[in-house]
């Protein structure tokens, strides 16, 4: 199985200026009763997007016409904190979000997103604030994210460089399935198991 590739993305960026956006906010637990990975986009940010009657909340960013096609999200610190549910990145992906930019992310969510071809970019708060301001301009706030050169080019032409683990970058650029990569190391895994049988026979 291969993963979605990510190389270069030019799209509208939506501002979500909240800190500590948790996985229950990204997708509430009651929507996890599925045995599929698909179709979760309709439940993305459910409580923020819909009122008690199921109608769209007009003031939520992704409900505004300028941001309906957003593929990039600019948000606050500690995005994705909470549960390990991969339904969170599945919901983002299914909705169409392919890149999230924030000062930092929760660890498990960070790993889960890359496994689904979603690029998460960590940049300093000051730069996030600048991009947030650009993103406030609505449909005009198109940004380009170039993974190869590791830069974000905002609609005002400004370029921001970002850091990324080289292995994650390699997998994302090539859409690599890491199970396949690990299986190439099967001999080493077998050797480890043989050794462990001797050193820790109780396991």
């Amino acid at each position: 199985m291969s993963v979605k590739k990510f190389d270069k993305l030019t799209a509208v960026a939506a501002p979500l200026p909240l800190i500590n956006v948790d996985t229950d906010m990204i997708i509430p637990a009651r929507f996890l009763k599925t045995i599929k990975r698909t179709g979760l986009g309709q439940s993305l940010f459910h409580t923020l997007r819909f009122d008690e009657n199921g109608s769209e909340r007009e003031d939520f960013v992704l409900n505004k016409s300028a941001y309906k096609d957003a593929k990039i999200l600019i948000t606050g610190a500690n995005f994705g904190c909470g549960s390990s549910r991969e339904h969170a990145p599945w919901a983002l992906d299914d909705f169409g979000i392919r890149c999230v930019i924030a000062p930092d992310f929760a660890d498990i969510f960070f790993n889960n997103s890359f496994k689904n071809g979603i690029l998460l970019i960590k940049i300093p708060q000051k730069e996030v604030d600048d991009l947030m301001e650009v993103a406030e301009r609505g449909a005009n706030s198109t940004m380009t994210v170039d993974l190869e050169t590791q830069e974000i080019i905002s609609s005002d032409g400004k370029s921001i460089k970002f850091e990324l683990d080289p292995f994650k970058k390699h997998c994302l650029l090539n859409g690599l399935d890491d199970i396949g990569l690990t299986m190439e190391k099967e001999k080493k895994i077998g050797t480890f198991e043989e050794n462990q049988k001797v050193t820790q026979p109780w396991l």
Partner: protein, 468 residues
């Protein structure tokens, strides 16, 4: 070179290391449940892959099961399908499963230790962030997503880069009426929900040594609420005593050899921790959360804080949003907050000692008229033990509802939930918006504090109950 406990377990499980530092880590134990596994098994089928080590894998349905009578099956169709999928996947791939009506069924992080599946010095994973619980045994335990679940099923390894070493030392002894739950809430209040991001936290100090194994589980369980990948406590005699004779613990000569190894599992003197935090246990009072993040926590003697006193604009906005959601006014006494429901349960606080403590508070008392109180044991075996000790009778005669084991109202995937606007005192681990039901308002507390709140009808300092 002096190394930490985390370094030692890490090094002992390293299968391969790439030049860029990406490592392949061997996984000794894998817990599987119904919510985060179906897509992983589907992935295996689509790629014609097998489970490499079904013998190191243990499955149980917990998140989605009803806590009312379930002898006739599950009414909710989606829940039923998910649980049936787990049954089928375990059968097809040869994985041991504790079915819904098995006495050993329960919350995965309760049954792992209970069965002796969790052992010191091992690596463990589960598609659930509260896997950190198992760190109480000196087991390096990570919560992972479904893609990683599939990776571990297929290869018995996971790809990781090494985390930072962080140590939280709690000196001195906890005062009367203060529990492991209060201690970990206090720590999260101190470091914040991102304080441990990118780290593995080792808990140490007198107060941690003095905790029972179940107390250490409560503490490690909420490490993830401090953002850390895993929590660890070095194993000691209490750990060995807890594990001895458990169904999956080593036996005979193997047990002796294992103990010799386990005794070596501690951080060396002079080992380097990138981040060090120290607290005094004497300063910790019973804690309660007022907001919508576990870091929004204060002693029960405090007042709801005011956003006007927060200088950081992002934090100020978040605080205002939390207060609006929680329906609270700055300055009000935490003890004046009325509750509608009470929940004792979850992988944080549903073990026998939690129930004993709550029963001590509930004994001879009555739940306030306007409160619905739910007690959900962590496993069938915990429930059985509690009933042997007559705890169920104490709860029931005090007006608490005594249920079947499962995750229940911690995350409201089954019928147990808050209605919009309802407020709970809950022994679970997350007070996020909507966590216990859309519009529900959660105050995280210890089991003793929860029972006390149910009786008084509002949040209250359990120390006023004068139990020892």
């Amino acid at each position: 070179m002096a190394t930490t406990l985390y370094d030692k377990i890490w090094d002992a499980h390293l299968v391969d290391q790439r030049e860029d530092g990406t490592c392949l880590l061997y996984i000794d134990r894998h817990l599987v449940h119904e919510v985060t596994s179906p897509q992983a098994f589907e992935g295996l089928r689509n790629s014609s892959r097998k489970v490499r080590r079904p013998d190191l894998t243990l499955a149980v349905a917990d998140h989605n099961v009803p806590t009312t009578d379930r002898s006739k099956g599950i009414d909710d169709e989606e829940s039923r399908i998910q649980i049936e999928a787990l049954d089928k996947n375990c059968l097809d791939f040869g994985i041991e499963l504790y079915g819904m009506n098995d006495i050993r069924q329960g919350i995965c992080h309760v049954i792992g230790p209970e069965q002796g599946f969790t052992l010191p010095g091992t690596t463990m994973v589960c598609g659930d962030s509260h896997t950190a619980t198992h760190g109480a045994f000196g087991c390096l335990a990570f919560g992972i997503g479904t893609s990683e679940v599939e990776h571990v099923l297929a290869t018995q390894t996971m790809i990781q880069t090494k985390a930072k070493n962080m140590r939280v030392t709690v000196n001195g002894s906890l005062p009367t009426g203060v529990t492991a739950k209060d201690m970990i809430l206090r720590i999260i209040g101190e470091i914040g929900t991102a304080g441990g991001t990118g780290s593995v936290i080792e808990f140490s100090g007198e107060a941690v040594s003095e905790l029972t194994i179940e107390g250490r589980m409560t503490m490690c369980n909420m490490t993830i609420e401090g953002g850390a990948r895993a929590g660890l406590v070095a194993p000691d005699q209490k750990t060995f005593d807890y594990l001895m004779g458990r169904p999956k613990s080593p036996k005979g000569a193997s047990w002796e050899t294992a103990i010799d190894y386990w005794k070596s599992l501690k951080s060396d003197d002079g080992a380097k921790f990138e981040i060090e935090i120290a607290l005094d246990a004497e300063d910790i009072a019973p804690q309660v959360t007022w907001g919508t993040s576990p870091e929004d926590v204060l002693p029960i003697t405090g007042r709801v804080p005011s956003p006007n006193n927060e200088s950081d604009t992002n934090k100020k906005a978040k605080m205002q949003r939390s207060l609006d959601y929680m329906g609270l006014e700055p300055g009000m006494l935490l003890e004046d907050i009325k509750i509608d429901k009470m929940f004792i349960g979850s992988c944080t606080n549903s073990r026998i000692e939690d129930l004993r403590l709550a029963a001590k508070v509930a004994n001879g008392q009555k739940v306030a008229d306007h409160v619905d109180a739910l007690v959900v044991p962590g496993s069938g075996l915990v429930k059985e033990q509690a009933e042997k000790e007559g705890l169920d009778e104490i709860f029931v005669s005090a007006g608490f509802d005594w249920r079947e084991p499962g995750c229940s109202m911690c995350l409201a995937m089954n019928a147990d939930k808050l209605q919009p606007g309802e407020r709970s005192a809950s022994t679970s681990n997350r007070n996020f918006e909507g966590r216990q039901g859309p519009g529900g308002r959660t105050h995280l507390v210890s089991p003793a504090m929860a029972a006390a709140a149910a009786i008084k009808g509002h949040l209250v300092d359990v120390r006023s109950f004068n139990i020892d």
